[in-house]
Symmetry: C2
Subunit: 350 residues, 2 copies
């Protein structure tokens, strides 16, 4: 395509040809990418209501859903810092170092599945897993539910969020409320790239447009497409050429552990790239802090391309245009415990 644009430019005045080439790039982009929609998606079987979203927010920030009372969803998916913890791999119960880098919760509703290995089909399926993971929040379903049942305000809020249900306070509804909060609230619309897709050609700088063109031309877009510029399919890390060993630890076989299929060894969900400039370090192993370096590594490992420094920089610069308006969250006030609330056990091995 680059060649074609150059040829077109030969026969015309520079300004006109530039305008045509620019418009062509934008049209190409619109084929590959979709903006963050103005309205949040609907969740089948989980209607989004203000009561449910507010409850989900409280649960997202609720440290008493962890064994220690020190960790909440927000501990690893900090909404102050791009929905991630900025750790190589996450730190959980007892300062346990987890196996993978925390993916952002921002715009997670648009991913094909959740977790790096896609083991949860959606946010509802994902939301309560980390609560029970011994190396994450370290709790149990019994403790989580015992805690919520012991607090009158939660009993009341579950009733209001799930009206008409005989037993609204159940683990499935904890997941539904958190998924509703995430889907309705944790979106980052109005990124420069979204404004560009919508027709504002000046929303991207020239170098960002150059980066976008390379992103399309070199084939990054073969995996990184759709609303989240990724997150829509799976790929082996090292499709063309194995990256440095530290980036793909042998012990983490990725999607293979979910499907058991040999072709899924070291396969991971393609990283969604929205807000990627906010969420270092990169890759499931979290070893790379510089976005340009991450781009260069991807070029080599996935496409067999040795990008020049300028090309990697231009692509990284384009990726910064995916940073959208961060969600404005009123920090919740959580209800007080009662004599029936199971006490924190920060030093128990759960």
């Amino acid at each position: 395509m680059r060649l074609m644009l150059l040829l077109t430019a030969v026969g015309m005045g520079a300004a006109a040809s530039y305008a045509i080439a620019a418009e062509e790039l934008r049209q190409t982009a619109r084929e590959h990418f979709q903006p963050i929609p103005a309205e949040p998606p609907q969740l089948p079987g989980n209607p989004i209501t203000p009561d449910k979203v507010e409850l989900g927010k409280m649960l997202f920030f609720e440290p008493r859903l962890s064994e220690s009372w020190m960790l909440s969803c927000n501990a690893c998916h900090n909404l102050a810092t791009g929905g991630v913890d900025l750790q190589e791999t996450s730190i959980g119960h007892g300062w346990h170092k987890g196996p993978r880098n925390a993916p952002t919760v921002l715009n997670a509703a648009f991913n094909v599945a959740q977790f790096w290995d896609g083991r949860a089909e959606d946010l509802e399926d994902q939301a309560t897993g980390p609560m029970m993971n011994p190396g994450e929040m370290g709790s149990s379903a019994e403790r989580v539910m015992g805690t919520l049942r012991s607090i009158p305000e939660y009993r009341e809020r579950f009733k209001r969020a799930f009206p008409g249900e005989a037993d609204p306070l159940k683990l499935g509804n904890v997941a539904k409320a958190i998924a509703a909060f995430e889907t309705a609230t944790l979106l980052t619309p109005n990124a420069p790239f979204d404004r560009y897709l919508a027709g504002d050609a000046g929303a991207l700088s020239d170098r960002q447009k150059e980066g976008l063109q390379l992103f399309v031309e070199y084939g990054c877009v073969g995996c990184h497409y759709g609303t989240n510029v990724g997150g829509a399919r799976y790929a082996r890390f090292g499709e063309v050429q194995a990256p440095d060993g530290g980036l793909v630890p042998e012990t983490d076989q990725g999607r293979f552990t979910v499907t058991g299929k040999p072709e899924d060894e070291y396969v991971f969900r393609v990283a969604p790239l929205r807000n990627v400039a906010l969420t270092p370090p990169y890759f499931h192993s979290g070893q790379v802090w510089d976005l340009k370096d991450a781009v260069a590594i991807m070029g080599r490992a996935q496409l067999g391309l040795e990008l020049t420094g300028e090309e990697a920089e231009a692509i990284a610069d384009f990726l910064t245009s995916l940073t959208g308006a961060q969600p404005q969250i009123a920090y919740p006030i959580l209800p007080v415990v009662t004599g029936d609330t199971p006490l924190p056990k920060p030093f128990d091995n759960p």
Copy 2:
């Protein structure tokens, strides 16, 4: 005083005498306690401005001021849960169990000094200590300042918060900004007790008034007075009778470690009781979860009184009237790191 009120009641109609006794109780209360003021206090040498308060909020929630990037001021002083962590004693860097229960940051501006041992004279003096404590946030002044200097948005915000200063980005200003945020924002006005002090006799229930009367009559008010119903002076835990050993660990000699004076052994700042119903567990050792139990222990240890179950309950019920309107905080969006930002070191012994 109780006797006097009863005698007064003999010579009058019951309703009139009740009204007089009730008004007398309220007047007595107004001599001992002050409401949370409508306007935040001024800080000498640290004028409170919107830019400074906003910066202070960001720093309060900033995990990158810790060695690990996992802990912020809010980790132990969670504004979702009464400005505390609800832990026996706080958990810090590397899951280190600290020596004392975290005091609330709410209304802390009205305390005579900060920390259980009063070693910081005010919030500005307090704010950066935990950042450098190896068992708390585990960082160093050099790292804290290196982190903030590496981030352009912080450089800009310090300039705006401290206009006219040649070098606004310094540790002293980190402390000043956090102190300004806490002083301007972390207040809980309009508690039922404040409305009662202001003249709304119905703001307290009859049992709460009974508890207030006992609180005054039995002498709790001798230590727990002023705006924060405590926090205004020091006292030995076990003034009259040593409490159970676990409540006053021998290894923590309290204010003695600050002053070196023998009379300060096992002396602590009197706990401020505003929002006390939100901040279990109680005492510097954090062993007691039930407010009634804490009241009974205080009666025995400090006053040599064996309160009846009903009396302890009435006092505890009065103490719940000290729960004020919790601060409404817009969760901050923190700026992204740069290539110059010192990386997190969660597993280094600082």
